[in-house]
């Protein structure tokens, strides 16, 4: 089943891309990485938004936890009221779990395609779909720069790149970083303590270091092709992280503007109050409704300002 659902499709996808892209394996690997990242994009975005949202709700969550520490049932009810579902905090692991089959599959597929032994070639012939003419594709070019893509990087450059890019990626996609930045900007010295008290932040914090170290370490013995997949995937992740942060910051600014306007008494009837929004928007649904809400309120604010000017 593993072969049928993972190994064979990845093998044939890479071979097909190799054929289409002028027998350039690094290019086919790049396109494959981009495609897999695009397929994972909704999941990643949802996870990132969910994590940030949970992070933002931490003061409320902690207050509820403190208040109802002896009454778990009431605590649950209160969590529901603010739209927080503790079980769904685990959804942060989903993208990681979802990419694992591709990761493990790719590891085996690269050994098959770039294995450079009669055994691997024979196995490859058993897995190729009828539409792909393996005769025309062989030999599959496995050299790229100083590397043989089927063997580990002899100069340890790729493991370092894997570590650095993954570290930067987790920094960019990590809500705790954003929170820390906020704390710093607000001069909140309790930022560190908050993180200690906050298990989600603690987990994220530990993931920030353990994952890059682990994957950098593994890349020492991975085929260079797999390490390149990691690096490319991380670079895309960095771009995605930057984009998501920008969007979320824009949303925050919009909300802040609404608050200001509300405080000035100019916009008493527009937008959704933050508390109400968090109450109505479950964390698990990402921020899509919140986004819609904020967009709606932004457009309403604009209309209101225009009418005020008139």
């Amino acid at each position: 089943m593993w072969d049928l659902l993972i190994i064979n499709p990845i093998t044939n996808a890479l071979l097909w891309l190799y054929a289409v892209l002028g027998n350039n394996f690094i290019l086919s690997l790049t396109v494959f990485t981009v495609i897999t990242r695009i397929l994972m994009l909704p999941l990643n975005l949802r996870q990132q938004r969910s994590m940030v949202k949970t992070q933002e709700m931490q003061p409320q969550i902690r207050a509820i936890q403190q208040k109802y520490k002896d009454n778990p049932q009431k605590m649950q009810e209160e969590f529901q009221k603010i739209g927080y579902n503790p079980a769904e905090s685990l959804s942060g692991c989903l993208p990681l779990l979802a990419t694992m089959p591709i990761l493990f599959g790719l590891f085996q597929v690269l050994r098959l395609i770039l294995g450079s032994t009669p055994q691997t070639l024979f196995e490859l012939t058993q897995r190729v779909y009828p539409g792909i003419n393996l005769t025309n594709l062989l030999p599959i070019e496995s050299n790229f720069l100083w590397m043989n893509l089927g063997q580990p990087d002899p100069y340890y450059i790729l493991p370092i790149l894997v570590f650095v890019t993954m570290f930067v990626q987790t920094k960019f996609t990590s809500p705790s970083t954003a929170k820390k930045d906020d704390d710093k900007s607000k001069g909140n010295k309790k930022g560190g303590k908050d993180k200690q008290d906050d298990p989600t932040a603690a987990m994220t914090q530990s993931m920030q270091y353990t994952m890059p170290i682990m994957f950098g370490f593994f890349s020492l013995s991975f085929q260079a092709g797999l390490s390149i997949y990691f690096v490319l995937s991380n670079l895309i992740g960095i771009g995605q992280g930057l984009y998501t942060r920008r969007i979320m910051e824009a949303e925050k600014e919009a909300l802040a503007r609404e608050k200001e306007l509300k405080a000035m008494g100019m916009n008493g009837d527009v937008g959704i109050p933050e508390a109400e929004m968090t109450k109505n928007e479950p964390v698990s649904s990402g921020n899509s409704k919140a986004t819609q809400g904020s967009r709606k309120s932004r457009s309403q604010s604009k209309r209101k300002r225009r009418s005020a000017k008139r």
Binding site: I61, Q65, Y68, K69, P72, M75, P86, S89, L90, C93, L96, L97, M100, L103, F104, F107, Q108, R111, G115, S116, T117, P118, Q119, T120, L121, F122, E123, T125, L134, T135, L138, P139, N148, Q151, P152, P154, P199, T200, A202, M203, S206, M207, T210, M211, M214, F218, L220, S221
Partner: protein, 396 residues
């Protein structure tokens, strides 16, 4: 607190451990390790896993064995043994987690006594696996590597004399004839080079990669190249110009056998062919799918060789023997004997495991090597196909 810190940390650790476990298991060496052998008629020389074995053909007594100190290091290329000296190259192995670079070595072993003594070993010559068996001619060892090289080494000392670089891996043993070497490469080229200095005499590009040793036919001034392009090509030995080619139905992995002016070969679909070595005329063909190949050619429909043929056939006394991967479901191999002149089936017998490696004939026994717990080497009677003996090399 409702959400304790620990469960999340545990989850993280659990995930990391899981990833470690799976990735580590992914890194395990390939389970498939096909035993291969060479022979000088008196003895077999078998490579299997981390060991090389010299076995007396008649009695199947172990003459000597060499075990790699590194248990993860495998041998795939059968050794070349001449004048009590074995030349062999390994599949290479990483030197550890922090030294992942594969180190491939070529060895010169003294096998004249009861033990294999290392005369010399070189780990600075090749960076990728050695798949092709080395060749010894006049004190020079020719070693082809997967990192595209053909190395000429002093067989006595291991000193490098010259090197020739192809564009891709060389999996086929070179063929020597009158001061020239013919090399088939996965880069789709057949090369003729000067054995004295490694200079290229000619190179011809075919339409498929090649892993089969070229076969020379001085009588016709032809060199034959079997290719993954589903053809066997006959090229002029002097110029490399293609004289004729004959179609198969699938990849031809291994070298054809030449005997009495006829060329015999099998393909990956289990079809076997006999063609006139002079002009490529198909004399007969047999197999599951062979019926559709060429009209008007003698067919032998009753024969069904199940499974791909990856090994070279062997011919003796008007009989041609083919080894095949056999039935995929039962994971048994197949050994078939056909009348060389007509393709008529004489016998066929199943073997305990698929046959990937070339069989050899010693005396009145055909010997096949396989990855089997019953016995890595199995001898079958040439006349009847009855199993004569099995041999399991000692474990390291």
């Amino acid at each position: 607190m409702f959400i304790a810190k620990r469960p999340y940390s545990r989850l993280t650790i659990l995930l990391l451990l899981l990833a470690t476990l799976v990735l580590t298991s992914c890194g395990a060496p390939l389970a498939e390790n096909w035993p291969r052998m060479s022979t000088d008629v008196q003895n077999f020389y078998v490579v299997y896993g981390p060991g090389i074995f010299g076995i007396e053909a008649e009695s199947q007594d172990l003459l000597w064995n060499y075990q790699s100190e590194n248990a993860s290091l495998f041998f795939y290329a059968p050794p070349s043994v001449q004048n009590g000296r074995a030349i062999v190259g390994d599949f290479g192995a990483a030197q550890g987690f922090f030294s992942p670079q594969t180190i491939v070595s070529v060895y010169g072993l003294d096998v004249s006594g009861n033990a294999a003594e290392v005369l010399w070993s070189r780990d600075d010559l090749a960076k990728d696996r050695i798949v092709a068996g080395p060749l010894q001619i006049d004190g020079v060892a020719y070693v082809a590597t997967s990192d595209n090289l053909l190395l000429a080494l002093d067989a006595e000392t291991g000193d490098e004399l010259w090197r020739f670089a192809a564009d891709f891996s060389i999996w086929a043993q070179p063929t020597y004839h009158e001061g020239a070497l013919y090399i088939a490469s996965l880069d789709r080229h057949l090369y003729k080079i000067n054995a004295a200095d490694g200079s290229e005499l000619w190179a011809v590009e075919l339409s498929g990669a090649m892993s089969a040793q070229p076969v020379v036919n001085p009588d016709e001034n032809l060199v034959y190249a079997a290719s993954y392009d589903r053809e066997v090509h006959a090229l002029d030995m002097d110029t490399g110009a293609e004289v004729w080619s004959v179609p198969a139905t699938d990849w031809v992995w291994s070298a054809p056998a030449l005997a009495d002016g006829t060329l015999y070969f099998g393909d990956s679909s289990g079809n076997v062919f006999a063609v006139n070595a002079a002009d490529g005329e198909i004399l007969w063909q047999s197999g599951v799918h062979a019926m559709n190949v060429v009209e008007g050619v003698v067919q032998n429909p009753p024969l069904e060789i199940k499974g791909a043929i990856q090994a070279s056939p062997v011919v003796q006394d008007d009989v041609v023997y083919f080894a095949s991967l056999g039935n995929e479901e039962s994971e048994e191999g197949l050994l078939v004997a056909l009348r060389a002149t007509t393709g008529e089936e004489l016998w066929q017998t199943t073997t305990p495991a698929p046959l990937f490696s070339d069989p050899v004939i010693v005396g009145d026994v055909i010997v096949v090597a396989m990855q089997s717990e019953v016995g890595v080497l199995q001898g079958y009677d040439l006349e009847t196909g009855q199993q004569e003996w099995t041999y399991q090399p000692p474990e390291s």
